[in-house]
């Protein structure tokens, strides 16, 4: 099971992103981002399970990629996704 975290610059942007994904049939949740991934301390992220490329395109097309993207598989730690 793979999880993708789209780090977001703000709660509002994360909410916009999650709503866009939900509207397009991709389950998405807004969560508090892990501290180790939040450069400036406390942040929000959108989490999806799978359908990464579809989600990436939707968010990218709507200027909603505002931070780094991380991937986690099962018990692995987060790894940054580039592109």
């Amino acid at each position: 099971m793979q999880q993708y975290l789209f780090m977001s610059r703000s709660m509002t942007t994360a909410q916009r992103a999650a709503r866009l994904l939900e509207r397009n049939g991709i389950n998405a949740n807004v969560v508090k981002a892990p501290q180790k991934l939040s450069t400036n301390g406390c942040g929000y992220a959108v989490v999806i399970a799978g359908r990464y490329y579809e989600a990436y395109k939707l968010l990218s097309d709507n200027n909603l990629i505002t931070g780094k993207i991380f991937k986690r598989s099962n018990s692995e730690d987060y790894r940054e996704v580039t592109g």
Binding site: R9, S10, M11, T12, R16
Partner: protein, 371 residues
């Protein structure tokens, strides 16, 4: 009781507003602060209100919607973002102290355009002749004293043509008239939540073109290691925990307005305004301030009767109106009523025709008694 002080605060709200406030009080915590259910529920409510407000006012992104305590708070942020000491600022002749005082406090050099009541040509021509050389225009959409609806879209066009940024005070128009942010091309549009948007007191909205200067600094729930407010919106202008209960009520109020439609609300208030004009015109001792381009607000004076005393006597008859200067000495100077003030009747979608007939009858009784 007949409540005709809706230009200050709408007292009668859609029932959904009250329900939402209570639900928020019971189930919602700090939005954007925690990951638990009550915090997420609060954040969803705040976000939904941004989305609905953005739709109502034709704003591209919900990030451009900033929640404030009231229109005064919103105007203080807007003016504080645009004005430096010595800035030249042109305002209409009908501004509220929520515009005038922050401008003077910031050290602006203020001049006024268009001081003739219900004369849109004079307003527009005067703005046209005075706008050059100004750093900013601040203009109300509707006078809170007289209901005069200024030609705001023409003024906005003029500002855009001359390259002068615009701040619009939509305190008396939001929820009644078309307030179209894209068409206004304004830097900021400020409005209260507690008037025609039917939110509770303690709510307001500032629509921002592209950011602003924070008036308050503090926690925003994100980027906590930074010693300054984040650059991104709306967090940049929203320090501290939101008024979630108020915003929940405001969300229901905005939904009510959208469902009912501003056109319908405006038509209803026009009908009441016309009844008031007709009935008050028939009373000899009453001086009415009425004209074209008037929204659901009307001011009167009763000859040889102090405006505050008249309002007090109307209050004793169960009719709630506002008297005096309405925090708008600028408008009263323009209209020549600065020494007396006026008695103001203001309607809402919950005011009915009988309310207006009864209020006019009460005015007639006061006149008779004083003669």
């Amino acid at each position: 009781m007949i409540y005709l002080d809706n230009a200050a605060t709408t007292l009668i709200k859609p029932p959904s507003v009250e329900r939402s406030v209570v639900e928020a009080l019971r189930t919602m915590a700090s939005p954007g602060r925690g990951g638990h259910q009550p915090a997420i529920k609060a954040a969803e409510t705040v976000f939904n209100c941004r989305v609905e407000a953005a739709e109502l006012f034709n704003v591209s992104d919900p990030e451009q919607i900033v929640f404030t305590m009231n229109a005064t708070h919103a105007l203080n942020i807007a003016i504080g973002s645009m004005v430096e000491k010595g800035s030249k600022v042109l305002v209409s002749g009908f501004e509220h102290n929520s515009v005038v005082r922050p401008l003077y406090a910031a050290g602006a050099r203020v001049s006024a355009a268009g001081r003739r009541l219900f004369d849109r040509n004079d307003t527009l021509n005067d703005f046209e002749s005075k706008i050059s050389g100004n750093d900013l225009v601040v203009c109300t959409h509707v006078s809170n004293v007289f209901g005069y609806t200024l030609p705001i879209y023409d003024i906005a066009e003029l500002c855009a043509r001359k390259g002068v940024p615009l701040i619009v005070d939509a305190s008396q128009s939001a929820g009644i008239l078309d307030v179209d942010f894209k068409r206004l091309k304004a830097k900021f549009v400020a409005m209260p939540g507690h008037k025609a948007l039917f939110g509770p007191q303690g709510t307001g909205i500032l629509i921002c073109r592209d950011g602003g200067r924070p008036l308050m600094h503090g926690g925003s729930g994100a980027d906590s290691k930074l010693t300054h407010m984040p650059e991104y919106m709306p967090d940049r202008l929203e320090a501290g925990t939101h008024n979630v209960c108020g915003i929940a009520g405001l969300l229901s109020g905005i939904r009510y307005v959208k469902e009912k439609g501003t056109d319908r609300i405006f038509r209803h208030e026009q009908k009441l305004l016309n009844i008031a004009k007709e009935k008050l015109e028939g009373i000899e001792c009453v001086e009415i301030f009425a004209g074209e381009d008037q929204s659901g607000v009307i001011s009167i004076r009763i000859s040889e009767t102090d405006t505050e005393e008249a309002a007090q006597r109307l209050g004793e008859k169960g009719i709630c109106v506002r008297s005096g200067l309405h925090c708008s000495p600028f408008a009263h100077r323009s209209a020549g009523t600065i020494d007396t003030g006026t008695i103001r009747f203001s309607f809402s979608t919950f005011t009915n025709e009988k309310n207006v007939y009864d209020a006019c009858r009460a005015v007639r009784e006061i006149c008779k008694k004083d003669r």
